[in-house]
Symmetry: C2
């Protein structure tokens, strides 16, 4: 018999999946433990099951030996922790091999996928069969898992941007190894399993998103019929003070569905980081970016303080009317409002020079930025935004980018605010101030993710190879999260470090922990992921009585090490 | 001390809410036990708490004495069981006194309400303050609770027709008496508590819909900005065989959001029952309605085999384009397609005669039917559809209608199908056959409740005062539910009798029962409601081994009587 539970579990899981699908090579494990920020969680092995039965069997082995497992789909959760588990000592359960597109309906506009299916794979699938359906894509990377992003409640840029809101029919392996299917999918032969979300009786889908209560092994994603006509819009505001009026002008159009997709507003830092790396030379080697240099760059690159994009979908006449309403709403508020469709884009690429002459708009230079954004609004995945994670690096992004491997420092905070100008203004001013004070460029985007909400993403980008930078960035991140919460702006999604910090005890998290104990009595599934462990909560409660809360930042992690 | 737990609990709950808010009068209890179909569940008392703390205290008393309580909001769950609990011997916890509108935002288009707030109350509230927001209403009654309908996942007729899909921020009293708030509402001062659904971490909203896991005491409902222009459409098809083409023509428009509201298609029986009572005299006293008479009525009342309604919302130009697309889609499929707006309606009311001369459409007679339907598509509640519950009665509906009191027999089945012509046709043919075979008129409506789904409602309407009719209707209902399920059409919502029949054991219902045991260890909250009790499941499993499943129909109820 193996000498300790980890070895024993590993031996049994190896029997389940086969030796070639178990990774214990030290360098591979170190790389899986590497994120875009500093974490200390170790991974004893990576297990790659190939099907549902193997996932169940691995879960049973984990229960038998009481060792924690941590499922990932593609593990590209950059800015939030990449592949790194929320607790120390978890086996990584890599579901990437389960990459079948299980069901597809052109008529009802849905696709049912396994966790390993990537954005690129679905995009290719739809194109190859000449489908008239569009997927929604995030800017993360074509190699990202669809399920991974959806269960994290990530978002994209088309009218189907609220990914979790456009999904149903989950297949889940519970922490005990049993399988449940949600909605009508639980009933044999249910005809509406992939078209109707709620099913009958209590609806459990939400329980398995941002959660450690089950492993999602299959899911239906709704797709969007390609519109007859598509037109993107881009606008900008020169002055930062124009933001509240902008948001207040867009909200009614989002509420009445004139704008059906997620309108996206990025500040100058965000746009700049998408266009180029940190201008080390012009900045004279100092950080953060000097204000005077930013003003120069505004002019050179035609960047506003706020830069918007979005798209109109419909028949030619529907889009024409939406364009009229958008023009009317943004008149006197946005300094520049441009529209772009496939025809203009083709012409622009071919005749960039005369186009510039006619319009004053240097299309060629901005096309490099515009094309991927334009594509995203049609649900075409792109690797382009990934380059911005290399912002503070002194070497250019390699051909095959890997932010974890390449020392790119990135921490994302993603507070949600109501879609109101006042909140947009307060939230972004707060975040900007905190980042600038600590020497980081405040890269901020606001996405009108739903009719009433703004999802704000604040990126802290840094160079992990610079001594002390990891710690400075973490300090900035934690301070930012604290100040945002104190002002009522809570994140729609948490990074590893926020989970480890644990929850303030409240009745909601008490209930979650009760459900966790019921559904995962041995506590083997992704401990600490969104649902705090009892040990972490107890430790936090104890710590609070003697020291300030800062000292307990790693409380959750410490408790895990006893496993 | 009181002699039995019921008396003791009643005494304590009376102390909590005050004597004037406890009803134990025999005739009031008998009337609360009366539904639109036969049930045997008894109610020992009605408790009417006035606020959150009183609800909590009543729940604690129920735990202490292990007596079951059954919360209702307005209790107008007609066709599914009215106020009658899913188990015998439950105290009714009537939340009708908690009727505050707690929060409202014109800017972000939402309202936060307590369970006692009715459709009429919110409608008045919006009108009185000159709000530019529309609510969504169901056809049930102006006196229906908004929360009651929403947690049952009921639906209406505007673009906000999927009620539960347009809600967030639930406040819940757990079966232990603790309070949780869902989404961001759980965090102090969260700015997006009423605008963003998911919050962070596992999302629990779904757990508390169609459920017995908590009492919803507060909830945010999203409202719709009134459009610049509103136009209703009505169409009909003479032949039953036109249905599949109709659904297939409408689906793309629903999927691409040209039609944003729920398009509604009703068969001739459904429309007839909305226009008048059973034509006893012309039918020569026989049921079901003779086919030849129905054909006569088609001509007289301008009813088609299928009759559709819906509305277009937007600017004048948006509606104009939607009208063009709808005309194109239904050309050659619908026999008649008419549009109606406020102006036409006013003119029609004034000039019904010349209008008929010009258009051939007898507007005056149909206005009686059209006006409430027209209003519903603007979210204006109406009592009109309630009259159809008197269909088979031999006396006309009284001024103040009460189907429970008045012996109206009504059983609703509400199977969901994908929005495909093939399924619409198969489902409605199946239901029609079963009802006609058993002597009932198959009143059927199909609502395109979401982009991909049809919610079908099949009404079995009968006269409860007729000997043997209760039993015949129940037999028909159970057979219908069984055949629908066997063909893959499962109901989006269950009536009392389907709940009592219990679940087929599967891992999903196993999980629900585990959650129920964890969250409600004493089993005091609405036992048997959507989540089967352990006793009922055990009994059903035993019964299945010796007799056919029909014999166990009351398994759940029987188990309850031991309480």
């Amino acid at each position: 018999m193996a000498s300790n539970p980890y070895d024993a579990a590993l031996a049994h899981m190896t029997e389940v999946v086969g030796l070639q699908y178990v990774i214990t090579d030290a360098s591979a494990l170190r790389s899986a433990e590497t994120s875009t920020f500093s974490t200390g969680h170790r991974i004893p092995g990576i297990i790659r099951p190939g099907n549902l039965a193997e996932v169940q069997e691995c879960v049973r082995v984990a229960n038998r030996f009481r060792v924690p497992i941590y499922p990932i789909s593609s593990g590209k959760n950059w800015g939030y922790g990449s592949r790194v588990p929320a607790a120390d000592g978890c086996f990584l359960l890599d579901l990437g091999r389960m990459n079948r597109i299980v069901d597809f309906s052109e008529e009802l506009a849905y696709v049912t996928v396994e966790p390993g299916v990537t954005q690129a794979q679905l995009s290719d699938f739809l194109r190859e069969r000449g489908s008239k359906l569009w997927m929604d894509a995030t800017g993360a990377s074509p190699a990202c898992s669809l399920i991974g992003n959806t269960v994290e409640r990530g978002f994209g840029h088309t009218p189907y941007g609220d990914h979790f809101g456009n999904s149903c029919g989950l297949e889940i392996v519970l922490p005990t190894g049993r399988i449940v299917q949600t909605g009508f999918a639980r009933f044999p032969g249910a005809t509406a399993a992939s078209s109707y979300r709620w099913g009958v009786g209590p609806s459990l889908d939400g329980l398995f998103s941002q959660s450690n209560l089950g492993i999602v092994t299959r899911m239906t994603l709704w797709l969007m019929p390609a519109p007859e006509y598509f037109q993107a819009y881009f606008f900008r505001c020169e002055e930062p003070e124009q933001l509240p009026a902008l948001v207040d002008a867009l909200r009614p159009l989002r509420l009445d569905h004139t704008i059906r997709g997620a309108s996206h507003i990025a500040n100058d830092y965000k746009v700049l980081s998408a266009l180029e790396q940190y201008p080390w030379e012009r900045a004279g080697g100092v950080t953060p970016l000097p204000g005077a240099l930013m003003r120069e760059l505004h002019g050179e690159l035609k960047i506003g303080s706020w830069n918007g994009s979005g798209a109109l979908y419909g028949t030619k006449r529907q889009v024409k009317e939406a364009r009229r309403l958008l023009r009317r709403a943004l008149g006197g508020i946005a300094d520049k409002l441009q529209f772009l469709d496939d025809r203009t884009l083709r012409m622009a690429s071919a005749f960039a020079k005369p186009y510039e002459f006619l319009t004053g708009w240097n299309l060629k230079r901005t096309l490099a930025l515009l094309e991927p954004v334009y594509g995203l609004m049609k649900g075409i995945p792109t690797e382009h935004p990934l380059a911005s994670t290399y912002w503070r690096r002194r070497t250019p992004p390699p051909a095959v980018m890997d932010p974890d491997r390449d020392g790119c420092g990135l921490l994302w905070a993603s507070p949600v605010a109501p879609a109101s100008g006042r909140h947009a203004s307060k939230l972004t001013a707060l975040a900007s101030g905190i980042l600038l004070d600590r020497g980081f460029e405040p890269m901020i985007s606001l996405t009108m993710i739903t009719e009433r909400s703004l999802a704000c993403v604040v990126s802290i980008a840094f160079d992990r190879e610079l001594a002390g930078e990891d710690a400075r960035a973490l300090d900035c991140y934690h301070h930012l999260m604290e100040r945002l919460a104190a002002n009522g702006y809570y994140s729609y999604r948490l990074g590893l470090l926020s989970m480890a910090r644990g929850e303030q005890p409240d009745s909601y998290s008490d209930l979650l922990r009760e459900l966790k104990r019921t559904m995962d009595p041995a506590g083997i599934l992704a401990p600490g992921r969104y649902v705090a462990t009892d040990a972490a909560v107890a430790e936090k409660a104890n710590a609070r009585t003697v020291v300030d809360s800062g000292a307990t930042a790693n409380g959750g992690m410490h408790a895990m090490q006893s496993l």
